[in-house]
């Protein structure tokens, strides 16, 4: 059976990322940033990608990366979720990197080094297995609109699937319109291309496989991010229930509240096993990866949403304020549950993978 635990190296990695985020990305700073002009935090990204060298964690050393695996990337995603860190890690270091790992292109090394970032130009709710494409190029130029692209606002490069292949487009050649996004800490962009010059990276089945691989890596790593979101929500609620007094008692001593947190803990504990399984399968190219990733998204998305909803409710009035960071986690959790396919969509895919077909037409 595949290893579902964390290695010592992974524990060390987690401690390093957590310490950096505690120092440079505390909740009050994240909250202060969300209404500014620059929702992403370039200093945190530099610390993560360049100083700590984590942008190319899953990329082999021979291709300019750190030579670790998706297991370690998953640990980073957990910590980024725990901090709702406003950095383009999922879009660039996971999805775009996952696309480029399938291809042979020097752009991968640039992303791995953290010098540049890229975004896959598909709507953020695109699930693995379905690739929306722009029309074919005309004279090497791309035209069309893609709504709701993640991590495109700060990207240097857009990876654009078109009918005649996968293209790399300098982001400067695109019009990027910020979306007023549900998720304040990971805002989306609408991307418009008007005869933008593109460099063809792949065609045909290879292009499809590359995009598919990027989305699949994204869905797997998103489960770990969701785990991190859920862990923060659980931990902060537990802490609050120990100190908040009503009726002369800490409210955490009331069984009605305790039981709700126990249920969240159970869900988080199960989510950890599921997210680890997806990361481990992806890291080893296991034959069960497609099932593991579908399972991870079908399970961990709702876990994060439940944890965030319970966090808001059990904090009472303070949890409903803008001042308290709980809403950042609620918005991230709900957006994540739609990103890269909904739980319902993933369950439908699983149904065909494990031979549990839907009902036929009524007779």
């Amino acid at each position: 059976m595949i290893d579902l635990l964390y290695s010592e190296v992974e524990d060390d990695l987690r401690a390093g990322v957590r310490a950096m985020l505690a120092d440079r990305c505390p909740a009050d700073r994240v909250l202060a940033r969300v209404e500014g002009d620059e929702p992403y935090d370039p200093k945190v990204w530099r610390a993560l990608a360049t100083e700590m060298g984590l942008a190319g964690l899953a990329v082999p050393e021979s291709r300019g990366g750190a030579g670790a695996s998706w297991r370690e990337v998953a640990v980073v995603c957990e910590e980024l979720g725990r901090a709702v860190a406003p950095v383009p890690y999922l879009g660039s270091a996971v999805v775009a990197t996952g696309v480029l790992l399938t291809l042979d292109d020097p752009l991968l090394a640039e992303l791995a080094g953290g010098a540049r970032t890229a975004a896959l130009a598909v709507p953020f709710d695109t699930a693995p297995g379905s690739v929306p494409r722009l029309p074919a190029t005309e004279g090497g130029a791309l035209s069309g609109e893609v709504r709701g692209v993640v991590d495109a606002a700060t990207a240097d490069i857009l990876l654009v699937p078109a009918a005649d292949g996968l293209y790399a487009v300098e982001a400067a050649h695109a019009t990027r319109t910020p979306v007023v996004s549900l998720d304040l800490t990971r805002p989306l962009c609408d991307v418009a291309l008007d005869a933008a010059p593109g460099r063809r990276l792949a065609t045909g089945e290879l292009a499809t496989a590359a995009v598919e691989a990027g989305l699949r890596a994204g869905a797997a790593m998103l489960a770990s991010e969701q785990l991190g979101v859920a862990e923060w929500c659980l931990g902060s609620t537990v802490d609050y229930l120990k100190v908040r007094h009503q009726f002369g008692r800490p409210i955490g001593s009331f069984q009605a509240l305790k039981h709700r947190l126990a249920d969240v803990w159970v869900a988080v504990t199960e989510g950890r096993a599921v997210a680890r399984y997806a990361a481990a399968c992806l890291a080893t190219g296991d034959a069960d990866t497609t099932v593991a990733v579908g399972l991870a998204q079908a399970y961990c998305g709702p876990v994060a949403v439940t944890a965030a909803e319970e966090c808001v409710q059990l904090h009472g009035g303070i949890g409903f304020t803008w001042e308290h960071p709980a809403h950042l986690y609620l918005k991230r959790a709900k957006a994540d549950a739609i990103a890269l396919g909904t739980a319902d969509g993933h369950r439908a895919v699983l149904a065909s993978l494990v031979d549990l077909p839907a009902a036929g037409p009524p007779h």
Binding site: K258, V266, V274, L295, L356
Partner: protein, 393 residues
Amino acid sequence: MTDADGLRDRVAEFLATHDHTAMDRVEFLRARFDVGLAWVHYPIGLGGLDAPRALQRVVDDAFAAAGAPDNEPRRIGIGLGMAAPTILRHGTDAQRRRFLRPLWTGEEVWCQLFSEPGAGSDLAALATRAVRDGDDWVVTGQKVWTSQAHVADRAILIARTDPELRKHAGITYFLLDMTAPGVDVRPLRQLTGDAEFNEVFLTDVPIPDADRLGAVGDGWRVAQTTLMNERVAIGGGALPREGGMIGVLARTWRERPDLRTAGLHDALMRLWVAAEANRLTGERLRQSLVAGHPGPEGSANKLAYAALNQQISALELELLGGEALRHDDWSKRRESSVDFYGRSATYRYLRAKGNSIEGGTSEILRNIIAERVLGLPTEPRVDKDVPWKDLPK
């Protein structure tokens, strides 16, 4: 020597000198115990080799591959899973030597005399009395929900030895001979119609002081070892995908396209995902145990497993529709272990109701998780510092 290859060599060497086809089964198992190949993580001299627990599978597989008889672990689960770790941890050398070998070989079947009619979730309120009488204790009281009592030779028992103390302090742990005078076992019929469990009435039952486990008054602490192992045993179990109750439902779904609806499909897939998550959690728990880091995941696994079994078996009835109005058998069967799969869907639905009650109710498990894992404060307790005899009953 105690790595996987070393153990395979030891098994091969043992089999070369012990022909299971020619030997008496019990003699064969005793010999296996004596060379340390019973439970390899137990100490040398007590059936083990002080080897990592993970290597037990290597030994079991090697014996199974040779077609050797095993100790029928399902039949002696309470002994193996609960009595043995408690005796190992809290017993004297003499007790370990006396009890562990016949426990492991299955010569002595064990049962657990903990719950009482007035002490279920609040186990520490138990009222069964043990009174010192020379070298013996004399025990009187009533125990309930005892699996295997009708076939057991021995029991782990907790009883009150000092009612003047607060309830947790006045309890002592004993190893009872079920053939002692005054032990009366009566079947307890449950809502499935079966009598899988028993009530055990104890009337002036003598227990030698030598069969006391741990110090007088330390029984509550000793019992924690038993209870922790019980939850691991109930929640655990390495299963393949669809190895549990979900497999039955999935099979029916595949074989009966006529029963499918969109609503049922949605419910089925939600449960399939939850069951697979629960299975992976069990696997992760097992890996933690093997790595020597027993975590609190056992409680999570048991809690989720109980809810899942109930939901899956309920959906199976809904899927079957009118066919689920027929039950297989209400007769008072005297089963000593649960067979979820050999019975009708209605049996599964009804028996699964016990999963959230036996081995700690789901509500008590949530308290344990909230207080011991999450560190939330306890409810104000009115019973904690009151002598047991003064508690309202």
